[in-house]
Symmetry: C2
Subunit: 259 residues, 2 copies
């Protein structure tokens, strides 16, 4: 028996197949204009790539902002709960999840069983999210995936404005003044780290800390955040799937959670 | 004897000459890259256009964020204080000043003598400022000065995101879905009105209310704000000069303030 978890985020849609022990298939696609079409495409691709028949899937659980648009779900669960369960699946010792997605960021505190004790979410302000970095990569005329690479080893340029709009003007001025793209890129990652730090401090951070979401793929951001929070931060190549994994684990049945 | 007030804002720099009773000359110029150069240019233009000799000026008072860069000032005063004094000069019955500038907004509460009792300022977030409208005018491919004109009489389109960055995407989507520029423009002015309302409610609004700053030149925004606050809002063709006027009045001597 398999369960499927689908996480329709504002920027990327993720889905995984869970066999009760392992994630045996995964798919990520841009969400685009229609969460419903994307959800169907994600499911079809998942089955096809995993060579899985529809009837082998016992249950499909949806999460993420676009879950309301999916007609084929057996269950809908909030992303906060799914992030908790997903992080617990990765490592039972995780007590804090820091997730930075394409358009939001959240900090979720967990108990020893992966239940949510507390959380804070920012989905109102583009600062400190993937969107901030996307806007800035555009100004720097680089791909967002290059930000961390070019920033490595550079002295971070101080970016005074937290606001995406004001920081964008600041970056334009800095470039006009001859500041290097490398130092600006480092400064921008530091800005996201600072904004995340203030969100995390308001909830309180407890060990172990797990870093997830698309933006967690920036190694330099992870380093800045570790320094700022003064804790080791754990992640996984699958961390972008954490919501989908949590949904699949919940679909499979809660018992898989308890060690 | 004359006094001069200079207000170097983030977007526009304003200066006025005061003769103890009336504003006899005024100038407004874009601030541009160098507040210092702009300040000097504003002063020179002011004297030239007003046909005033430098020695007729007894005192020059500076305000606005760029005042620190001006070497020729006799005195520097915060924009909050200057806005209070300036509004009091316009109308002794003003108790609340709502100022929306190019990159910030503030609400200042005054006593019967124009002294500041309380204030709140937003200069961290582009939402609810002229910058928000500037970004949106660009998306709508109209001049910022046309926003209020085209919006007049249109049913305001609801803009869900307060954040400039997210609202920008929303406007792009709305246009793709065929919403009219007129209704979007009205919706954007309503968004600024809502953001201003929440700032004003936190300080508390008392009659009379004076509306100033570059953004106050949008008649429709004034109407939205009056409806939302449920008070009459007063303004003046000179309202964009309120900070400079306050500075000039302070320079002239406090006695001119008391009726
Ligand atoms: S601070 Fe900037 S990025 Fe954040 S909500 Fe305001 S406009 Fe948006």
């Amino acid at each position: 028996m398999y369960s499927v978890g689908i996480d329709i985020g504002s920027v990327a849609s993720k889905a995984v197949v869970f066999n009760g022990e392992d994630i045996i298939s995964k798919v990520i696609l841009p969400t685009g204009w229609s969460p419903r079409e994307t959800g169907e495409k994600v499911l079809a691709t998942l089955l096809q790539e995993g060579k899985i028949e529809r009837q082998q899937i016992k249950v499909i659980v949806g999460t993420g902002y676009g879950r309301i648009s999916l007609p084929f779900l057996d269950k809908k669960v909030t992303e906060i709960t799914c992030h908790g369960v997903g992080a617990h699946y990765f490592d039972h010792e995780v007590r804090t999840v820091i997730d930075i997605g394409g358009q939001d960021s959240k900090v979720v505190k967990l108990d020893a069983k992966g239940n949510v004790l507390d959380f804070l979410m920012n989905d109102k302000c583009a600062a400190g999210t993937g969107r901030f970095l996307q806007v800035m990569a555009h100004v720097l005329e680089i791909d967002i995936s290059e930000l961390s690479t070019i920033a490595e080893g550079a002295e971070p340029q101080k970016i005074n404005s937290m606001c995406t709009v004001f920081a964008e003007s600041e970056v334009v001025s800095l470039m006009a003044e001859g500041a290097s793209k490398e130092s600006i890129a480092a400064g921008l990652l530091q800005s996201v780290s600072n904004k995340t730090y203030s969100l995390a401090s308001r909830v309180g951070v407890e060990n172990k800390v797990f870093f997830s979401g698309g933006v967690s793929k920036n190694p330099l951001l992870k380093i800045f955040l570790e320094k700022k929070l003064d804790v080791a931060i754990h992640s996984s190549p699958l961390s972008q799937y954490i919501g989908a994994i949590g949904a699949a684990v919940i679909g499979y049945g809660k018992n898989v959670l308890v060690p």
